[in-house]
Amino acid sequence: MMKIGPETPVPASSGRLRRHARLGTACSTILAAFLCSNGLATAQNRDSVTVCQTLEPTILDPTASAAAAIREVTYANIFEGLVGFDRNSKLVPRLAESWQASPDGMKYTFKLRAGAAFHDGTPVTSADVKFSFDRAGAPDSKNPQKWIFEPIGAVAAPAPDTVEITLKTYAADFLEGLAWGDAIILSEKSVAKAATEPVGTGPYRFVRWNRGDRLVLERNDAWWGGKASIKSATFRFIADPQAQVSAMLSGDCDAFTNIGAPEAVDQLKKDGRLVVTIGSTEGETILAMNNAKAPLSDIRVRKAIAMAVDRKLVNEGAISGFGTPIGSHFSPNHPAYIDLTGEVKFDTKAAKALLAEAGLANGFKVSLRLPPPAYARRGGEIIAAMLAEIGITAEIEPVEWPQWLERVFRNKDFDLTVISHVEPMDLNIYARDGYYFGYSSPELKAAVAATKTARSEAERKAAFEAAQRQIARDQVNAFLFMLPKITVAKKGLTGMWPSWPMPANPLAELKWE
């Protein structure tokens, strides 16, 4: 979409020739105005920022829904936990000023920050922490990451600024779990409205939400961490990748958290007003397979499919090669990562032979359900063509997100799907019974359990490595690549997270220069 500059009136009295000349200058003025307008706009609005992202949250309460979009808006902005992750996935104190673990790792004592308060003015006390964790761990809790709270035996509030958590089972990742967006501290008073009018403790307070368009936040001047630099912040939601690019080029957005059009990176880079940063996410993008359904229940068939898919070309064709190839369900950003991309080599002939061995020499038909993002739709089309090479007919069916969640994720009504699992450290999904992959392996369950019971870093690392290997060996899914984070920001706006250890856009770190 072109932005059209203001029309410059041409005096009617001027002659034809002069009018042409004037039109020429008028045009160049318009052009100049167009080129400068964004610079001017930013100069005027140093006190506000418009951050755009692809998906709109369905609700704003991260303790009630798993949608990443909720965290992208609320994490470290509206809501905070006792601890949090920073941009380098380092654990940092948030509402807890400090903490201590007992030598056996079964008891944690948190000291709450003095001056931390909810947006309605009530101070954050240990009672709020107890309420939040008891609620999240309750049997009827809707919290999407219940594993965080499962090890908790009891939460005690001996003093208003002291919380004692006693574990009933040891969990090496307990503290890490508390840094997730699902372990935020809510007040009993306002929890009922958390979904639509959230009251948190973070540096920004909720102002209003125009569904389908934008969500407006305002700086919380009473934040324990001091005042954020920018007064007013707006999240805008633009689903269409082309519209995202246009919104950046026209200056409607000050920043785009992760632009959905990798093919437009060159074009955006050429624009001197913008800065493009390519980072990484924790989004393991996979060709998920229904392990419970024949013929995909046969490991030879799954292996053949994995062999037939050239992840390098899928990466290139779907997201312009910005992804990082993976061979198992684990992020290369993690210290325990091992490179398993060589486990299955792209080899059409060997894939065909495997299929023949499985008694499917003549190929077969599968469905391939594709959710809306470009990596899935485009990647799926490429994968379908690759599978056709070994005689597998993948019938592509594009689905919208609600349909995907309903049919694929909940009802497991699928053969193949392309999807990115964006949560950090989500290897444990392979150990969950009834998860949509339909995979169940005692070895993997043992390995995942070992990551929890590990008493030392080395032990934990070994357990993670074993789990990665197990998943790769069982070829649960075909592993493709980690999704990139393509951040675009106006020149002068600093502080956007270049990578996503978790989906989050802490606005307090943004600054106009």
Binding site: P241, E263, A385, P398
Partner: protein, 274 residues
Amino acid sequence: MRRALSHPSFMIGLVLTGFIVTIALLSLFWTPHDPGKMQILQRLRPPSVQFWLGTDQFGRDIASMLMVGARNALLVGIVAVGIGFVVGMMLGVFAAQHEGSLLDEILMRLLDFTFAFPAVLSAILILTFLGPGVVNAVIAIGIYSVPIFARLARGAALQVFSRDFIRAARLAGCSRLSILRRHVLPNIAGLMIVQASLQFSLAILAEAGLSYLGIGTQPPNPSWGRMLFDAQTYMARAPLVAVFPGVAIAMAALAFNLLGDGLRDLLDPRLKER
């Protein structure tokens, strides 16, 4: 015949239609490349000797895809218009036979009701019930062209029914069916064929539109509308990729429109004397 040759829009339409049909038929036996073959490292190439019209975002040959896409468009047009033509004509003639009866009223009001919705919108509506896919798209396009044919057939048949030779045939003891077959249908056929040709271009546009929206022809089957949609993403990098399917759609729509206009002029008895 001579009149046909000297009718410019008819001739242009005929040539263009012939071209599209030839290409579509040719694609059954030969295309420059395999239209489904992806050469991702060769993606978004400009036209060259190797790739006549360049390659798309997956490195597929656009010329080959357009050829197969022509087949797709024609097939959709033929089947969808066929459904509308046959069902619409039957309903229309049936209604005309029972003119003024309650049945006629109900039938025509029902058709008016479907007619009230914009064509592509009603197709989208139907597709949300049937699910996406080219077969369902054809059905949807077919359904929404039913009322157009039905109204036309009813009007034309009413005219024929009021003519003296029908009365004569009735008096002569001809059966209803034979009157229909020997007198009514041949007399309304011309009109219906003209409408079919015009409807054909609408059907091609509708299929392209539905595929553009992602609910028509599904990949990997090439469709002009889908090609246009896919190319849109790469407009900044390779604008030509969008131009070719656009031209193809415009050309096909123009071809059948011109053909229909020409046919109307040629078949119109009032224009015969001129």
